[in-house]
Symmetry: C3
Subunit: 315 residues, 3 copies
């Protein structure tokens, strides 16, 4: 989330009741995911295991639950519960005030764009030119749609991230992390019917120009998809994934979180992608392997009975 104007760390500290270590007069420009963070950004961390990653990142300001030495040029905002502090920032800068009108007065819709009945267009949504928004589509607050985009019926853009802070004191339970990121859909993207594209938690979920999604595709929060990709029906992609340009995922493929699929890779139907995949290869299986190797594996499996016979005869 970018703030509309840079905000002083003093003000942020007041909102979250933090003690500042470092220069409280600096300005912050937004809050961001640790893997996307830029100079001027706030991040938050509540486990010593991740302290160093945050301190060494490009982030200028770290909301943290321990007083530790602050690197020069940065500031720490020390609070007891960094997750709670994050929620306070979201509540302050992105308070939940959804439009009660089907199309919000603050939405901007470009020339030549047609919005069909039953569609909901939330606050501060921007839709470009010559788009077609089919019936019963839902586009939630702050999402940005480019030009020449087609969104088929029943699709939801900007649903909240499936992202919880697990509380392990009994009973185990989950506290919702509010999402303040957006969905950005670039030009000439086409999205099928009954798809769901979650907004980023703090960053943006992006669908690159020219990419085409079939029906019932799910895209998780903060996932960035390149240009001219093709995803068939019922593909599901978890959060914070990076998919490069011209990737093809066939039907019912599942992709685990925070991984990267390289440019031009193809994943055959029903495969499950557990980790990074280099580009320009064809993959198959759960977990995915190079498709031809996976096919050979099946041949080997079919040979087990013959192998058994040979061994038995030899005894």
């Amino acid at each position: 989330m970018r703030f509309e104007n840079p905000i002083s760390i003093e003000k942020i500290a007041a909102i979250i009741h933090a003690k500042v270590i470092g220069d409280a007069t600096q300005l912050t420009t937004g809050i961001n995911e640790i893997h996307r963070v830029e100079k001027g950004d706030l991040v938050f961390v509540d486990h010593p295991k991740y302290y160093e990653t945050c301190l060494q990142s490009a982030a200028s300001f770290i909301i943290i639950n321990q007083e530790i030495p602050c690197p020069s040029g940065k500031a720490l905002l020390v609070v007891e519960d960094p997750f709670g502090a994050y929620q306070k920032i979201v509540d302050h800068f992105r308070p939940l005030r959804p439009s009660l009108k089907p199309i919000s007065d603050s939405a901007v819709i470009g020339a030549g764009t047609v919005v069909l009945p039953g569609a909901y267009i939330g606050n501060h949504v921007q839709i470009g030119k010559n788009c077609l928004i089919h019936p019963n589509v839902t586009i939630l607050d702050h999402c940005i749609i480019g030009d020449d985009v087609i969104i088929q019926a029943g699709t939801i853009i900007g649903s909240d991230a499936f992202y919880y802070n697990k509380k392990t004191n009994r009973p185990v339970h989950y506290k919702k992390m509010k999402s303040c990121g957006r969905v950005l859909i670039e030009n000439e993207v086409e999205i099928g019917a009954a798809c769901t594209i979650d907004r980023g938690v703090t960053s943006d979920t992006v669908i690159g120009a020219g990419t085409k999604l079939d029906n019932q595709v799910h895209i998780g929060h903060d996932t960035v998809i390149g240009k001219n990709c093709l995803f068939a029906a019922q593909v599901a992609i978890a959060g914070a994934v990076t998919i490069e340009d011209e990737v093809i995922l066939w039907g019912q493929v599942g992709v685990n979180k925070t991984l990267r699929i390289g440019k031009g890779a193809t994943v055959l139907a029903q495969s499950g992608v557990p980790g990074d995949l280099p580009g320009n290869q064809i993959y198959f299986g759960t977990p995915t392997e190079i498709a031809n190797e996976k096919k050979r594996e099946r041949v080997w499996i079919k040979r087990i009975p013959a192998l058994w016979d040979k061994v038995m005869r030899a005894q």
Copy 2:
């Protein structure tokens, strides 16, 4: 389905044109699934194979297609077609008269709850306090939603069970069993976008307090889910399943009908659960196995070529 007031068996017999064996003056409190049945309930059975189960169950009244001895304290309602009799009871006590208004006059919506445009709230729906019902959500008749529940856009609560009486006289065809059960969603449940939660056939589909569902999750009829569970995107659960507390199902997992998953079990992505799973274990595969054993199986498969070589060299 609970009746609003207890009904005499005499009246039920008149509705379904049944001959009563036993005491016709008793009162019945509702109709229920055989695995959920309580004293005072009606059940129905049309195959001798299941007669004993019904007669031995807690049910007080059995709609049956044969005159057999009646256990004391119970009553049999003998009809030619028990499934048809069931439909008559549903038509009588839950006639289909859907609200033609987006929000039914008989719906009760708690203080602080926000219902966004395009949502449909059916007859006798109850929604608790401080809920957020996103755009284009559908909540059908008689469903009950607790407090602090979030239902994201496009989700359907209370769709009919996928439950048919198979007619094997040619051509094979299917007769819809009307659903008269409800969906009960407890407090602090969060349901993602484009999910579908079927109502029970005669009992209730239940989502326990604190449970969180990601997008495009499907929950079948009469399934009971415990507290503080976490189901990722595109999970599908068939009918009459019991899932205990704190179960985690990762993306695209499928769960077969009428089974039980024990407390604290985790099922890894894309797995298919064919039968009961004890709790506090991690499972993987279709059909599911203990995840570590399934991983070792892959190692063994990769050794087949080496094994083949050894056997060939030995010959």
Copy 3:
């Protein structure tokens, strides 16, 4: 797509700026898929590999990108870009002018049919008698629904085909092929919640009488499904598939494009169907095999460690 009235080839040639080889005075009755084509139909082809198939088909008129000899009784319409010519024909005969009213004035809705709030019924849609169209359903232009059909909430009928012309000049990108086919839903079909049924590209997607679909089922363009089939939740079927009568697909099954599944076949949950399946058999696995053989394969895999032991001891 059937034309409302037969059209002279001369007129078609004028619309697409084609040179006619053969008799320009003949009449064409429609445009169709190559595997469904009838006398009087137009087809289009842009690759010499498929020329013969088109010329030998029942089609009377072939839009083609090369001047070649024309079989007698047919006509060729020669253009530089047959795909572009196809788009011009669709734009001319099925221009995109979606209804801006929730229920189009040109829709015809039969007696006894109930349409609930939030449903969108497009231009020239026909719905038969005694149907129930649940809230937030979308039925797009030209789709035809029979009698006694139930369509549950949030389902989309007539979404566009996921069908693109791949352009391999860098960067690889995709040009949408406009869909001018329809969806035909026969009598007594029941479709679950949040399903998506794509229209045909040029032909019709058909759901045969008595077939029942569970929730979140996806049916691709030009797919023809027989009578009294049963598809469980999250089944996905690609384009131009033929499924005969009384086929059962259990949950999360995926079916590849342009194949045929024979009458009475059953495919067990989570299987992936890569090619034709003969009828009256039970299948399992990705790729599918006869279910019992697939089960035996698992037994063999579990024997690998024992086999390894035997071989090691023998050395």
